[in-house]
């Protein structure tokens, strides 16, 4: 078998120019495959991380139904069992209670429908990144007292409402008795997150202030949990669930809370695979074409090999090896180039601020850090290997079928 590896490798280099063309076409295919996979991975994970860090959290404890209908009636009392769970489940980096109420914010200039989120400032820093997204211009600062009449709004919303730090705005919402409640709050600070929808629709105030204004007593809408890594969400969820005694209250992972984000990611992955399919169908044809030419050129030679006793299967294997050699050489070059490219750009990031508005809508931020993953490298390798193999089957079959007699007459 080794002789056929040797033969096929030397045969590849008989027509250097032709082989190099095929090898580089495979390399370019692999290279673009890795780049686009890494870009999509980078975007997806940045979108996931941004969504988690702004609003979702890795795991959240809710009253059942809250996810579909964020009303005050879906609030609950966190009992000591839940707190015990939060303090004793491994993998939890931080947690914070929140009250969420849908309502309207108004200034003298404009109004906007928003999600009013009551937070405990100290705990919130350990869970979400709002603190990190704060602007520190014009006296803008984070909340400190959960009972104070302060509010944080995005820079974008401030513009729309035409307010600056220190101005007063009014929030209006349905309280726990389904009556319209209103509250005047002072803009304490502004933030700017990478997620457009978040900046448009979410404002923050102290949890105590909101509970009081809504007549909720100590009830909360959710406890948001940050896990050590995003992959631990399921483990933490099953760790915390036994501590929740109220059958109407449950823990959900970020995957469960954002099914549409997950299906968008899956759709994107599927589209990538269609794209790769197209790339590699062209690769199949270029390899097949090259191999057919190679077999035709060596018609006589293969005939001689068969005359002196080489079996058809061995000829078949030799031609398959030849195509696989082309594929592996192209793959090696493409993987190397793609990995280097992605590692470098993964560190520096690709600044897409030119398109930053649409990037913000997608929720990724304006700098994309390509993320190359081992499974993508493995997928590329397997695809190229299979492609080369498939492309070689027909030419190899043809070569195996060459009749020595015809080949001898053909010089």
């Amino acid at each position: 078998m080794i002789i056929y590896l040797k033969l096929s490798w030397r045969n590849v280099w008989r027509n250097k120019r032709r082989s190099l063309i095929v090898i580089s076409s495979i390399a370019i295919g692999v290279f673009f495959m890795l780049i686009s996979m890494a870009l999509v991975n980078g975007m997806n994970y940045q979108m996931i991380d941004n969504t988690i860090s702004t609003s979702l959290g890795h795991v959240a404890i809710h009253k059942k139904g809250f996810d579909d209908n964020m009303k005050i009636s879906y609030s609950f009392n966190a009992d000591s069992g839940i707190y015990e769970g939060l303090n004793n489940t491994p993998g939890i980096a931080g947690w914070a209670p929140r009250v969420k109420v849908q309502g309207i914010v108004r200034s003298s200039e404009a109004s906007q429908g928003v999600m009013i989120t009551g937070i405990e400032p100290g705990k919130e820093k350990g869970v979400s990144d709002i603190f990190n997204y704060m602007l520190n211009t014009d006296g803008s600062e984070f909340l400190d007292n959960p009972a104070a009449g302060d509010v944080l709004i995005s820079e974008q919303l401030a513009k729309k409402l035409d307010v600056v730090t220190g101005d007063r705005i009014v929030i209006m919402f349905q309280d726990s008795r389904d009556e319209i409640a209103g509250e005047a709050l002072t803009v304490r600070g502004m933030f700017r997150s990478p997620v457009d929808s978040f900046d448009k629709y979410v404002i923050f105030t102290g949890i105590k202030k909101l509970q009081k204004a809504a007549g909720m007593n100590d009830r909360i809408s959710e406890i948001s949990i940050r896990t050590d890594t995003r992959d631990e969400s399921t483990v933490v969820k099953s760790g915390i669930s036994p501590f929740i005694k109220d059958p109407e209250v449950q823990a959900l992972t970020w995957q469960e809370m954002a099914p549409s984000m997950m299906s968008a990611i899956r759709l994107y992955d599927a589209m990538m695979f269609i794209f790769f399919g197209i790339i590699f169908i062209t690769v199949i044809f270029s390899v097949a074409n090259t191999m057919i030419m190679a077999v035709m050129e060596r018609f006589h030679e293969i005939g001689v090999m068969k005359c002196i006793g080489t079996r058809p299967l061995n000829i078949f294997i030799m031609i398959i090896f030849e195509a696989v050699n082309l594929g592996l050489a192209g793959m090696a070059a493409g993987l190397l180039a793609g990995t280097v490219f992605n590692v470098v750009l993964g560190a520096t990031g690709i600044d897409l601020s030119l398109f930053s508005e649409s990037m913000r809508i997608w929720g990724t931020g304006s700098v994309i850090y390509p993320l190359i993953m081992f499974k993508d490298i493995a997928a590329a390798a397997v695809i190229v290997f299979l492609t080369a193999f498939l492309a070689a089957i027909y030419p190899a079959y043809k070569a195996a079928k060459i009749k020595p007699l015809e080949a001898l007459n053909y010089i």
Binding site: K306, C307, I308, G309, L408
Partner: protein, 232 residues
């Protein structure tokens, strides 16, 4: 009678072969009876188109007999399966063609080794036998050369070495000197003749060159697919 058959490497009785050329039947062989014994050095002579190649191809299991019986190394070729023919070619017959005998990407020694490899010899034995046979044909300095780096005469010598390395019953050579100049061709023939005399290797070769015919131990004249005269 029985004894004679046993020492025959080739036994042919009433062999006919027709080709179909554009709907027209071409009678390439018209009733050949031939027996070749071990140790013979036989030339098949005849003008172009007389059926030399066809006869050698059938004996070598490259082409199929039409009508008639063909026995090589005691085995009847009629009705042999493709794989059996392949094994027969590998183990019992050595081939030397007119030109382009060798695998271009392999060196001289690798070309010779290739046959042994197909036969399943181990690496050390392969290398030793291939090198020693190449020395025997006078190519000790060309072991590592690829065919393109050797002259036509040297390439044919490698082909001779490859044909005999597997110790076949017979070596078939279809116009082995046709692509060589006079002196190179005659040197190749001397080499073959010496191998025949010293080691008893059986050769059957075709030619239309009178210089080559003169050196044959036995001459078979072909005309229009018939043996017209033989000399012993």
């Amino acid at each position: 009678m029985k004894k004679r058959e046993q020492s025959s490497v080739i036994e042919i009785k009433g062999l006919y072969k027709d080709y179909n050329s554009d709907g027209l039947a071409v009678h390439a062989l018209n009733g050949i009876d031939l027996s070749i014994k071990k140790g013979e050095f036989t030339a098949i002579a005849g003008p172009s188109g007389s059926g030399k190649t066809t006869l050698l191809n059938i004996i070598g299991g490259i082409d199929r007999p039409g009508r008639g019986e063909v026995k090589v190394a005691g085995k009847n070729l009629n009705g042999m399966k493709r794989g059996e023919l392949s094994d027969l070619r590998l183990n019992s017959i050595g081939f030397i063609f007119q030109a382009y005998n060798l695998i271009p990407v392999l060196t001289a020694v690798e070309n010779v080794e290739y046959v042994l490899l197909l036969q399943g010899a181990d690496k050390k034995e392969r290398r030793e036998r291939a090198e020693s046979i190449l020395r025997d044909v006078g190519l000790e300095r060309e072991l590592k050369r690829k065919p393109a780096e050797m002259s036509g005469g040297q390439q044919q010598r490698v082909a001779v070495a490859r044909a005999m390395v597997s110790n076949p019953e017979i070596i078939l050579a279809d116009e082995p000197t046709a692509n060589l100049d006079q002196s190179t061709g005659s040197a190749l023939l001397d080499l073959m003749r010496n191998l025949n005399k010293e080691r008893g290797i059986t050769f059957l070769f075709s030619t239309h060159d009178s210089m080559v015919m003169k050196r044959a131990g036995r001459l078979i004249n072909l005309r229009d697919g018939r043996i017209v005269a033989g000399k012993k």
